[in-house]
């Protein structure tokens, strides 16, 4: 019994995740049943809540955008053999950069604010990833530990800034004043209205396209450039990399800078696209979900996008589920999301061997006929 039973490519990328997902849904169904609700009705509510209307699709893709950014961030670091747990903090500081640009340059036209906001977000995230990267590269401090610690540092720094510096005077809530109308991302319904398509107003915005572009960029970068090649070699075999003349410290720092920059773009969607102000704890755990997204997407950009859609659907569908089925409260929704992560990430090998046998059986029979 090996955990590395070989599966054909279509089964590896298509069938196995599907079986895992199904298993998670069946177990969730049992839990819903125990709570005294109909599992079938819950599934229908969840899928309708995630994809059943324009509003549902808009919210699902809005959450998806966050998860694509953080999922890509984790995936890029992973290819270099680094486990970046700090996407949450990098997204937080990146968002600070984006937010400050939007606050300061509110009088400028959108086409001028936009590139600077993107740049500031990426720079903020990259800067926050740089210190753990440097510590790993030069001092050997483990990146997992340092990036976790930097999440807390980011949180403390942002709370200080929001409570003492950026807060809109005369209010309780630690959040900045609202961005001016020039400094917000065009929403999807506004953009679609320009081409004559009516779409319900949702937080979905231009940042979604940026996320897709980022995925395309990562794809090209990792598999089509010398840099990406060096990064993968260093990740898979540091010794071979040194032998080939690749300097691991440089790769570590470069990969983490890119990873942090990707995570830092979350603010474009969350702050510039939806909330239109800097507020406390806006990444809301998306940095951690990004780890699950990257694992499920096998660290490939297309996989990350698909996994991000799944998690976006779970976030949005789950919220609708608790809205319409009060017995399934928000904690149960987290349980269901957790089961999906458990089956698709941690237990992915449970079904691998049986599936390989089944596939082999069908394959053999096909050969005899």
């Amino acid at each position: 019994m090996s955990a590395t039973a070989k599966l054909p490519r279509w089964a590896e990328l298509g069938l196995l995740p599907l079986v895992n997902l199904l298993a998670a849904l069946v177990l969730s169904g049992v839990i819903v049943k125990i709570l005294g609700e109909s599992p079938w009705a819950a599934l229908k509510l969840m899928s309708a809540g995630a994809f059943g209307s324009q509003e549902a699709v808009g919210y699902t893709l809005y959450y998806t955008t966050n998860f694509i950014f953080t999922g890509l961030a984790v995936a890029v670091a992973y290819h270099a053999g680094l486990f970046n747990i700090g996407a949450e903090g990098q997204a937080y500081i990146g968002g600070l950069g984006t937010g400050l640009v939007c606050l300061w340059l509110g009088a400028w036209p959108f086409w001028a604010v936009f590139p600077l906001a993107v740049l500031a977000g990426a720079l903020g995230g990259a800067a926050w990833a740089f210190i753990p990267a440097w510590l790993q590269a030069r001092r050997g401090s483990h990146i997992v530990i340092t990036t976790i610690m930097f999440n807390f540092l980011a949180s403390a720094l942002m709370t200080y800034l929001l409570v003492n510096v950026l807060i809109r005077p005369g209010q309780q809530s630690p959040e900045s004043r609202e961005f001016s109308a020039h400094a917000v991302m065009p929403a999807a319904h506004e953009l679609l209205a320009k081409v004559g398509v009516t779409f319900t107003a949702t937080p979905l915005n231009l940042a979604f396209l940026l996320a897709l572009l980022a995925a395309a960029f990562v794809s090209v970068f990792i598999w089509r450039t010398r840099w990406g090649y060096a990064l993968r070699v260093a990740g898979q075999s540091p010794d071979a990399a040194v032998y080939a003349g690749i300097l691991p410290p440089r790769i570590i720092i470069g990969a983490m800078l890119l990873s942090g920059a990707l995570a830092g773009c979350l603010g474009l969607n969350e702050l510039m696209g939806s909330q239109h102000r800097i507020l406390i704890d806006f990444p809301g755990g998306a940095g951690f979900v990004g780890i699950a997204v990257a694992l499920m997407g096998r660290n490939r950009p297309l996989g990350v996008i698909l996994a991000a859609v799944l998690f976006g659907a779970l976030a949005q569908g789950g919220s609708q589920l608790s809205f319409d089925m009060p017995k399934v409260n928000r904690d149960m929704v987290v349980v269901i999301q957790g089961l999906v992560i458990l089956f698709c990430g941690a237990l992915e090998n449970v079904f691998r061997a049986p599936l390989a046998r089944v596939v082999a059986m069908f394959g053999n029979r096909g050969g005899e006929e």
């Binding site: 959450y63 005077p169 630690p174 102000r277 809301g284 809205f323």
Partner: protein, 327 residues
């Protein structure tokens, strides 16, 4: 066939029911991150809504949020599904209320712990400094070491308001009292970390503190547990928490969020609801210190008399409690 028929009838019935509901009075409530079972702030709101339901038989809808985007989404959805009055619990919901209230001018909104200046919003705020002041007095009166503690949740202006009132109250009784203050954290998880709350309380006990006041939501449960374990005193917050550890909880800084919610629902039902600012302090019975069978033995008659006198003085304006102002 039969099941299909049944299905069709049930669909029909459902349809009729929802139509009937749409025409009716439908109150709704949106809780914040703490969740409706935090035994403190949100739970108090939930109790107010439940009381309304019990007395009037009118059902209400509720939603607990898990991320920032859901606030606006939930409120808009409740408004679309025919909610007549929506209570948003907690200051973090202010900006969401501001946006959704503009979209649905016919729906009544109530925001608790913040101010939203719109013609269809009622803003309910509490003078927490007044009840904190009384609790500070109670703490200083009960302390044998002359050191009293404060454990806040997340370090935000609202919690500093509690801390300031508490400290002033303690110094009012005993000018040389030492007040040890700790905040649990800088993220919203600081509201739900009883373990850390217990650690902070223990470290304060180690420094000689023998009465500790928490304004930390569910984190405070750990603070109170630690005090009970050490045989020392704690002071509860928001809800009356005296019953949690009888004999160890000196008193609670009660904040009647339940009354605010109940009144909002009732007012909206009777047509007496009014938009604008509503500030509830000791005078309006919006905040108070608690005294019941669980803590009666802990507060001496002399202390009680001083507390009641101070309460009367604050209400009459003779005794001024400063309010923490951000910036």
């Amino acid at each position: 066939m039969i099941s299909l028929y049944r299905f069709a009838t049930s669909l029909f019935v459902l349809g009729v029911v929802s139509v009937v509901h749409a025409g009716n009075f439908l109150p709704a409530i949106v809780y914040d991150f703490g969740g409706k079972f935090d035994r403190s702030f949100n739970q108090s709101a939930s109790e107010g809504a439940e009381r309304f339901k019990k007395e009037t038989g009118v059902a209400f809808r509720e939603f607990e949020i898990t991320n920032a985007a859901q606030r606006e989404q939930a409120m808009a959805q409740l408004a679309k599904r025919g909610a007549t009055v929506i209570v948003a619990v907690g200051f973090t919901q202010a900006s969401a209320v501001e946006r959704v209230a503009k979209q649905f001018p016919a729906v009544k909104f109530v925001i608790i712990d913040a101010v939203v200046d719109l013609p269809n919003v009622e803003s309910v705020n509490f003078r927490e400094q007044e009840s904190s002041f009384l609790c500070g007095m109670a703490a200083a009166l009960a302390s044998k070491t002359g050191k009293v503690g404060f454990v806040g949740g997340m370090d935000i202006p609202l919690i500093r308001k509690f801390a300031l009132g508490y400290s002033e109250g303690a110094h009012y009784v005993n000018p040389s009292v030492e007040v040890v203050e700790n905040m649990t954290g800088t993220t919203p998880t600081a509201w739900g970390d009883p373990t850390r709350g217990a650690e902070l309380a223990k470290s304060q006990f180690g420094r000689g503190v023998d009465v500790v006041f928490h304004a930390a939501g569910a984190t405070g449960l750990g603070v109170m547990q630690a005090a009970a374990d050490a045989g020392l005193l704690s002071i509860g917050c928001d809800s009356n928490q005296d019953y949690l550890h009888p004999g160890s909880v000196l008193t609670s800084a009660v904040k009647r969020v339940d009354v605010a919610v109940y009144k909002a629902f009732m007012g909206a039902k009777d047509g007496t609801w009014k938009p604008g600012k509503l500030v509830l302090g000791l005078a309006e019975e919006g905040v108070d210190f608690s005294l019941d069978q669980h803590n009666r033995a802990l507060i001496t008659p002399a202390s009680e008399a001083r507390l009641r006198q101070a309460k009367a003085d604050i209400i009459s304006g003779r005794l001024k409690v400063s309010e923490y102002k951000a910036q």
